[in-house]
Symmetry: C2
Subunit: 449 residues, 2 copies
Amino acid sequence: MRNNSLIVIGGNGAGLSAASQARRIDPEMEILVLEQSPYLSFSACGFPFYLRGLIPEFKNLFILSPQKLEEKRRIKVLTQTRVKEIRPKEGLIIVESAPGREFSLSYQKLLIATGALPVLPPGFSLSENEFALRSAGDAEKLDRYLKIRSPREALIIGGSALGLEIAESFFHRDIKVTLLEAAPHLLPSFSALSGELAARQLQERGIRVLTKEKIVRIQNRGRRIIAHTASGNALEADFALWAAGVKPEVGLAEQAGIALGKSGGILTSREMRTSDPHIFAAGDCAEYFNPVNRKGVFFPLGSAANRSGRAAGNAIAGATDEFPGVLQSLAFKIFDLEIARTGLSATQAGQDFPGFQIHQTGVQNKPRYLPDSSELQISLLFDPRDEKLLGAEIAGKAGAAQRINVFAAALSAGFTLSQIQKLDLIYYPDFAPVWDPILYAAGEALTKK
Amino acid sequence: MRNNSLIVIGGNGAGLSAASQARRIDPEMEILVLEQSPYLSFSACGFPFYLRGLIPEFKNLFILSPQKLEEKRRIKVLTQTRVKEIRPKEGLIIVESAPGREFSLSYQKLLIATGALPVLPPGFSLSENEFALRSAGDAEKLDRYLKIRSPREALIIGGSALGLEIAESFFHRDIKVTLLEAAPHLLPSFSALSGELAARQLQERGIRVLTKEKIVRIQNRGRRIIAHTASGNALEADFALWAAGVKPEVGLAEQAGIALGKSGGILTSREMRTSDPHIFAAGDCAEYFNPVNRKGVFFPLGSAANRSGRAAGNAIAGATDEFPGVLQSLAFKIFDLEIARTGLSATQAGQDFPGFQIHQTGVQNKPRYLPDSSELQISLLFDPRDEKLLGAEIAGKAGAAQRINVFAAALSAGFTLSQIQKLDLIYYPDFAPVWDPILYAAGEALTKK
């Protein structure tokens, strides 16, 4: 390849954002993307919506095609091409395009965007009636199973956002769901209140929710499974979906001697450069910088993947454009309930801001005189010494999720509660009361401090 | 009255926010609110929703009662009590509680919160079939007319947000509407695009929209009116609603020698103090500080009234709490269309930032693969020299209005387009594509600069 060349390992959000951004800045750079699966540019977050029947065809979940990337952005793509090894000293990678067919490619710049893998507890592996959900291949496998077998009963292991979203999708397909979570409440990285509100949404629709239940063994009996829990329960279903978390896919990086961070992801600079100056990492496999506690964080989400990919693309193409890092902004919806957060969780805040406070309040999302006025639950985490916001969480009906973005902007600005309370936000009965819940919550937190 | 005393002239958002905030800070202060009408604490913004039948009773539009203010906040209220004169040198006001029954009250601190009045063009006055809409009394008069007369045809004069909202309310009551606007497009303080999108919403439902039409005369013929326009049209209807703007009610202030600002509102300091150190002003009658162009602005909206009232209450009670002013954040909805803006309008920007640029772009509010994905129109105003945001406008379906608050926070933080583009906003198919429209629009504006 030419002197000015980039090889990207991984053809999803991070990899393709980086490639596209590098192309925008440098029209001459040679750019090659290698993807081990047959799939490119898969919207994993769209899959639950596909399962609900909202998206007509599975192929709609693929955003960019190799043809489009080649034609519009002059980015070459090889799918079904697995990178076996990175040799940083020689500046080359060993690639397998078919079993036994290996070749090497030299790079000037390399981006590792290998993503994350679903986690199973030690000793477990997927049987034919068990599924995980991360890659397009995982999704396709589950989709095929649902179509061919038309199962009636599912066990979802893990009360994560993904577990809950899939529970809703199965509900819409008339599949009976039992959802298990080992922690005391669903959504363990959120507040107990959000977890309980989410549980209520599921239970009201007949979905069985079991917390403090840990799977110890799964028996596979032909077309049925039996899951045994630590408390002695035996739960039968047609199939199980594992949604118990993911971990960064860092095998290639580790083997190549590239440093990992404390979060388990690949250690990166503020411009997404790894410990090797010619190698960058972005997306779920990389450790992100969290500007609130100034620590590294693993945060496997599409927005962070795209943002960090873009930042890597900037640095690779020589642009000096600071990447502010990842606030862990996150939102999803379970039936009528929107849940969102940004900034530090209570666990994170506890480590670095030992005197931090949480103020939790219920605020109407619209004036009470409107019939569809309902309560938003807002939790604000802040440092009482300087009154600076550390994090926020909102749960409620319409308007909960979009509001978290205001807190994200406030975190980026380093605003205090008092500055947030004085923001000039919109007032219109169908959108907000005269004091928006954001302003009200900030004011309350200040008063009750 | 006692030494530590406050008299508030005007019992709506600004006056009651100020009184309540002063009480929060100073539990001992004597606080008296004087309101000339029989009504207190009226939600004018809720009235269009009441007209649509969404709010069962007119009285639901009153948020606080004199009883509640007295019991919970120890704020005394006198309604139907008109202030005739302020005598700053003597520190007293002349009050009329019934025709010919006058008395005087002395104050330590005085707050003028007299609001705004509807504007009619010179030479016009309201006949019995013509209505204006600002106060609770105006609303009640219109409500009574609609109930008693059951009119079938309305003329709305003025394509302001209020005019459009009332047009929608009349549509829901099966009243045929003709809407007139003198400017070339509806919503003249917004972009032409927003005005056209709004016009389409109305026209699709059979509401007649006439722009560049100026009323020159209205004939009142018993139970009908005929409005004649400058272009020679004669428009017949049962009644007319004037929604052609409002002006600050500054009569008392002017008479007392209190300085007015260029906007016509009462000149105020950053803490809402007038040219008389013992007299404050807040709400629609006051001129606000706009931090973007650092100029005074007239901005008759409930949120600004409450915020400035609260700031005045702080200052009156001796708190040192800086009020950042008013960004003119504003939102409303016409049928399916949300329209919102914050910061400077193009006209305002043109005065103080002559090289300013506008970037207008259409962005999907959700990933294209979702069936209810639709386009938001986002206009960003910025100063190309430092790339700082000056203002933003959004029009579109669900999610347009709440997003303007992120731009409001960005304006408060003084963010550049590049800082906005790098915000960590939520991504979830039902709420936003992987690059939120906010991020996309900021990036586009930077690229096309």
